[in-house]
Symmetry: C2
Subunit: 418 residues, 2 copies
């Protein structure tokens, strides 16, 4: 079979499975997830053995330490994965909820029922934990899923998918509920992106390059996720002690995640006072600051930024810093350079807080809090499949509800349209 | 300027306008729409003159009667357009509504605010009324819009856009709120579809060919609309008198619209009784029936269908007819050949009605009513920009609410993430 034929076979099987999955009860879904969790724990040895193959290759290829860390599984990480599966089983199942039901003047009852999206494709990098996370979130929301993980994790992914699949079959789920693309050939992604008669949604998870490739090449609707060039604007009325705490939290607690702050905007009227303070604090925490000329003059430990810095998602202990003349300039700067993820204003001015909330174009806009809260768990939706940074379908953290769509259900007694 | 440069200029201007539009009050939007309505009425003569140019060319090119009818404006049609604009002004403005606001344990208040999508592109065929409809729906929901109408209507579209634009400027709206692509060159659509840094959504309105071209070529998220191969399944317990009424309504009241029925499925146990009845009624109404072998044997006035009939949206006085052995076969047939628009079961069996509602994959699923109700007005949402037949973002009729997205707004008092 050619790669194209192989992918089409998988897509067809996924479509068929999706019709059955949409009708499995919550109890049966939860039972299956518990079996998957147990299956992962019971096969820890086998998973570690396969993961070892991937790690060996990655080391031979001199991949970075961070890359190898993301690729690595351990007894503890497998236990965490299994625990994550159990947590998804605990979440409310959105499928079948009737969101609104109204009676029309002609007696028709029209409601909106939450239903699974259908077949979801997930394209991600070499992170084996995503294989399990994505699979169980799609399953719990009644979708079948086709997974395409980074080639460096292929052995880990194969064994994880095999364990998931075996347990689902044992639980009475249809064949094809969770599939993994077996080849590491790039052509497979190209083929997958063309199959809009079978797939209903593609979610790329990973860096900007991966996401752009999918957005540009896909005939299937795509949810863009994750790239976060997040700003914090310190207005002239901000509580500066809070500002320091929030900036430190947003920049340094996990610099490699998408909701970390990447850029500071400081109101010119407090620049002289605040920039030296924050520069010293960040300096002590080994954060490199790249600032505009004004900032460089105000503090000795700031490097001069060049124009490419404003659009950068560093994902590292680096932050850019710019002085702005007012809230309008801050908003314009954010709408120009931001990635529509999470943006914060620190202020005690009512008008500016409302202006910022209304005019900044982003999935999550904060007043006086850290951008690090943009997260499915923190927003009270449990686990998430990603953070949408586009405007269609879902915006911000995507949990189970965001993995469903709706369908109008209409109850009549013979009504015809006049 | 090259076509590409011209389209980029328009897209940039639209983006800039969209930020301002998102902050215009409902009162100001309504005032502007009333001015647009008056502007259309006051310029009836000029509109008719420009429309005449398009009609002359279309006649010279021997376009079909139906095509010329859709292209034609008249004093009355212009009045209807103006009236339509006033009706949109009357609709509730969804922008700024807070959908949910909850207080988290750490004191953060997290809500979801409805906001405009941003810049919307509408690609449509030679129907000048769409120019006005689409523009005002986008405006009322706070979006800027770039219109690309069919080339045969270019003169009509230009004058309509000019009138809309002049009145918007007079009302204080930003330049670029409603733009029309001035060239009829096809390259313009190709360029437009590539500009995902400026456009947030594309909505193609028209036939399957147009929609496929956009779905296949766009880097911008697309909402697929309108293609409706709608089925009516007459179960063995259906009230046959109701069934005749509903089928006649769904097939013959407006055969050229997307919610018209295109195919009948009849339970085998009532085929002998019901098929001759419905065949005679439809025959009297000049509806051609294309049936399977069984149907042809049961009634003299049924032509034999070939396999391509099951997937056809006739948009004409033609209907296909197939005998099925049970509700499962009906559901499988619909999920194979349907276009995810509107599907109906006529039954008095509780289990089958629920099975059909749950398992048929479509935007609107009916029990005992005509598919013709799938329409923004009938569903109580006022005017609509189209009927979505895909699963992402919005499903079914799309009104003002579906032309918005949400953004999380978070009110804090210095919270940081632990």
């Amino acid at each position: 079979m050619s790669i194209r034929e192989e992918i089409i076979e998988q897509a067809k099987l996924a479509k068929k499975a999706s019709y059955k999955l949409s009708n499995i009860t919550t109890d049966d879904k939860n039972r299956a997830l518990m079996m998957v969790a147990e299956g992962l724990e019971n096969n820890t040895g086998m998973i570690l053995k396969e993961n070892e193959k991937d790690l060996k290759k990655a080391k031979e290829e001199n991949m970075s330490k961070a890359f190898i860390d993301r690729l690595s599984l351990s007894r503890q990480r497998i236990e965490q994965m299994a625990q994550g599966v159990r947590e998804v089983a605990d979440l409310d199942d959105p499928v079948g909820d009737i969101i609104e039901m109204k009676k029309m003047p002609n007696g028709l009852k029209i409601g909106k029922m939450r239903v699974p999206i259908g077949v979801i494709g997930i394209i991600y990098e070499a992170r084996p934990n995503v294989t399990v996370d994505a699979a169980v979130l799609c399953l719990k929301s009644g979708n079948s899923v086709i997974l395409r993980g980074g080639s460096s994790a292929i052995n880990s992914n194969k064994v994880l998918q095999k364990i998931i699949n075996e347990n689902l079959i044992k639980a009475g789920f249809p064949e094809g509920s969770v599939q993994l693309i077996q080849t590491t050939d790039r052509q497979a992604v190209k083929e997958l992106m063309s199959l809009n008669q079978y797939l209903d949604l593609l979610i790329p998870r990973g860096g900007a390059e991966l996401i752009n490739r999918v957005v540009n090449g896909s005939k299937i609707p795509v949810i863009q996720t994750g790239v976060g060039n997040c700003h914090i604007f310190v207005d002239k009325t901000a509580d500066l002690k809070n500002a320091v705490n929030i900036i430190v939290n947003a920049k340094t607690t996990r610099p490699a995640v998408c909701n970390a702050a990447e850029s500071l905007l400081v109101h010119q009227d407090i620049a002289k006072k605040f920039i030296p303070i924050i520069a010293e604090v960040l300096n002590d925490l080994d954060v490199e600051i790249r600032g505009d000329k004004n900032a460089v003059e105000l503090a000795g430990n700031i490097k001069e930024a060049n124009s490419s810095d404003w659009g950068k998602e560093y994902l590292d202990y680096i932050i850019s810093l710019k002085t702005v003349k007012d809230v309008d300039q801050a908003i314009n700067h954010i709408n120009k350079y931001g990635t529509k993820h999470s943006e914060a204003i620190l202020t005690d001015n009512y008008t500016n807080s409302q202006k910022f909330l209304n005019e900044v174009d982003a999935a999550a806009v904060y007043v006086n809090a850290s951008t690090r809260f943009t997260d499915g768990g923190q927003f009270g939706m449990g686990a998430e499949i990603g953070i949408s940074t586009q405007k269609i379908h879902a915006r911000g953290p995507m949990g189970l509800k965001e993995l469903t769509t709706s369908k109008y259900v209409i109850y009549g007694q013979g009504q015809i349209r006049e």
